[in-house]
């Protein structure tokens, strides 16, 4: 059975080719870029953005945008961090539940504002981006959760690995990608998210509960931001109110837009998003090797978003051009 979204596969192949080209080019210039060790560095850059990108993809497909992911990540990580600090003897995996749960609640608040008050999601989440960051400072009394407070088993998850050298959190992020693939392809909810994004006016006519599905999308975005938060604590070993999650939403949007997810809703694949994250990981890992100062990273992200927007537009134009125009 040919893949259903065959017309889109052109885009994923394009990104895959870009990754191969980019890595070989850097590899020629700096041979040890293609070593297992630097692959490990690239993979270690990926987990958080991967989880965020999967959530943002769902939001964009439903024709919304979530700018508050960075602060949701920070707030959820802080809640888990405070739990670890104030209740050191607690069973450490509880941190996952607490972070994901906190994130889900924040996502629900976003969703309620968007659905009940019928507000544009981009402005709502611009507001909650700062509201949640402020709350992160307040609950932590502006103090950092030090490395000593983070359970070593949690920190180990980003170093030790169950199978052939890939750390737990990377496997977890791939698992989330697979889960999102399953959700998007094999559940009604997934298909209805696409339907809402593809034609918001027709969705209610076809019996889709638009409010409920939109709420779920924002809850997922919050929950996955929360998961990224606990993974932040594992990967970096601390939680800081001011820079945990700072700028996370822009990195995620860059990855998702490169991955071929359209801003106008209804178009986007898990594979494309996955490859978009990997490409960004390669770029981020290559910069220090090529001696390009980290300062250029944000300029590169910005230009990549703009280029992806133009590519997306030409893809969309070709798609709509071939439906015969009929006069009313």
């Amino acid at each position: 059975m040919k893949p259903i979204l065959k017309f889109l596969s052109g885009r994923e192949a394009g990104i895959f080719v870009m990754i191969i080209l980019f890595c070989t080019a850097v590899g020629i210039y700096k041979p040890h870029f293609i070593s297992s060790n630097s692959l490990r560095i690239i993979l270690l850059l990926v987990p958080l953005i991967m989880i965020g990108a999967m959530a943002q993809m769902l939001v964009l497909v439903a024709r919304h945008v979530d700018l508050s992911m960075g602060s949701m990540l920070g707030f959820s990580a802080m809640v888990a961090g405070l739990m670890y600090r104030d209740m050191p003897e607690i069973w450490w995996p509880i941190g996952f539940l607490v972070a994901v749960g906190t994130g889900a609640v924040l996502g629900l608040f976003n969703g309620l504002l968007v659905t009940i008050f019928n507000l544009p999601s981009i402005i709502v989440t611009l507001g909650t981006l700062n509201l949640y960051r402020g709350l992160t400072f307040i609950i932590s009394d502006a103090r950092q959760i030090n490395r000593a407070n983070i359970p070593s088993e949690l920190k180990a998850m980003s170093q030790t690995s169950p199978i052939f050298g890939i750390p737990w959190i990377i496997l977890m992020s791939f698992a989330i990608a697979l889960l999102t693939f399953y959700l998007v392809r094999y559940t009604q909810l997934g298909r209805q998210i696409y339907a809402i994004g593809s034609n918001p006016n027709a969705a209610p006519l076809r019996g889709i509960n638009v409010t409920k599905v939109t709420l779920i999308v924002f809850i997922i975005s919050g929950a996955l931001s929360g998961l990224a938060g606990i993974m932040y604590a594992s990967r970096w070993g601390f939680v800081n109110p001011s820079n945990t999650g700072m700028g996370f939403e822009f990195q995620v949007i860059a990855a998702v837009v490169i991955g071929g997810v359209s801003i106008n809703g209804g178009v986007g694949t898990v594979l494309g998003t996955f490859l978009g994250v990997i490409l960004l990981g390669c770029v981020a890992a290559a910069l220090p090797l090529l001696g390009i100062p980290g300062t250029t990273q944000s300029a590169i992200y910005g230009s990549v978003i703009l280029i992806a927007l133009l590519i997306d537009r030409s893809v969309r134009q070709r798609a709509t051009a071939n439906t015969k125009r009929s006069r009313a």
């Binding site: 945008v65 504002l113 008050f117 019928n118 507000l119 544009p120 981009i122 402005i123 709502v124 611009l126 507001g127 909650t128 981006l129 700062n130 509201l131 949640y132 960051r133 402020g134 709350l135 992160t136 400072f137 307040i138 502006a142 109110p241 822009f250 949007i253 860059a254 837009v257 801003i263 106008n264 100062p293 300062t295 250029t296 990273q297 944000s298 300029a299 590169i300 992200y301 910005g302 230009s303 978003i305 703009l306 927007l309 133009l310 537009r313």
Partner: protein, 324 residues
């Protein structure tokens, strides 16, 4: 087979003063003044408030032009990054020996280019302005970092201190802000261009049918915001004496907040310069009041976030009832 257009009847007219959004902003302004002076006895001092205003004067001036962009039905989140990049270009060119006038012209030209890039992507390539300007926001902020690295570039001694220059006891940036507000208010309120900005924002198709060149108007507004932002960047360089890439970091939220608090409708067609003018003062009073009371900065962030959400709910509620 008529496609019946049911004409909508409306119970109350929204003309009365009470329902003008500026009244909401004005009452909030008074409340903030009272609250801040209760919060700390050091607050109620006109010179101190005026001096504090100069710290965000650049963002407020750009927010006035942003109000017109939003009224026309578009949005531009890249203005704050434009301020930073223009300031860095100006300082960089100036520091590498170019005469001051050339440096200023280069800075303004940079603003023109940035505004035009936004305009071309939105008008010519018909891309949604919200996502385009997120892209250009990151791009311009990144370019500023490329030019300035994480060093700060200094400006000559004599150029520093625009905010200390006084006109009848009022700091120069505040005078410029008020003058810009008056000029833009007149343009928006009395000239035909202003009227057409409202018409384009209310119904772009009807504007096209009435012979209004909406693309030309929107293009001009993006470029105007670009140039004004670069001018603000240069003013900031004079205020600070040195420029880093992180100038006005996160300023886009404050600018959108000012427009929204001033009653500008996010979907276009509604809003006034007076509203944004009052909102700019409201924001200064809120943040200054909290700072001088030594409140944790986190509380300021929380309050700003909450204010934006409350503002869009209020304006959305007032306008959508009128429009539906």
């Amino acid at each position: 087979m008529t496609n019946q257009i049911p004409s909508l009847y409306h119970k109350k007219s929204w003309r009365s003063l009470f329902n003008r959004p500026e009244t909401m902003t004005f009452t909030l302004l008074i409340l903030a003044l009272v609250g801040a002076s209760l919060l700390s006895e050091y607050f109620l001092d006109v010179n101190y408030i005026l001096r504090s205003f100069t710290l965000t004067a650049e963002l407020s001036i750009a927010a006035l032009v942003l109000t017109m962009v939003i009224i026309s039905g578009e949005i531009d989140l890249s203005a704050a990054a434009n301020i930073a990049l223009s300031a860095c270009i100006f300082a960089y060119v100036q520091a590498s020996g170019a005469p001051m006038t050339l440096a200023i012209l280069t800075g303004l030209f940079a603003g023109l280019v940035m505004g035009s890039l936004n305009a071309i992507l939105v008008i010519v390539y018909q891309l949604p302005s919200i996502i385009v300007t997120i892209g250009t926001l990151i791009f311009y902020r990144g370019l500023a970092q490329v030019i300035a690295g994480d060093k700060s570039i200094r400006v000559p001694e004599w150029f520093i201190g625009v905010n200390t220059k006084m006109v009848l006891g009022v700091p120069f940036p505040v005078v410029i802000f008020t003058a810009t507000a008056i000029i833009l208010g007149l343009v928006l309120g009395t000239t035909i261009y202003g009227r057409q900005i409202y018409q384009v924002g209310t119904n772009n198709t009807a504007a096209l049918h009435a012979g209004i060149k909406s693309n030309r108007i929107k293009f001009g507004l993006f470029v105007l915001l670009g140039v004004v932002s670069s001018a603000c960047g240069i003013m900031a360089a004079s205020r600070l004496g040195s420029v880093r890439y992180d100038l006005a970091l996160g300023g886009e939220l404050q600018m959108v907040l000012m427009a929204m608090l001033g009653g500008t409708y996010i979907f276009g067609g509604r809003g006034t310069i007076l509203g944004t003018f009052l909102a700019a003062w409201l924001l200064v009073i809120v943040s200054t009041g909290m700072t001088v009371a030594n409140l944790l900065p986190a509380i300021q962030l929380t309050v700003l976030g909450l204010l934006l959400i409350v503002a869009i709910i209020a304006t959305n509620f007032i306008y959508s009832r009128a429009r539906r």
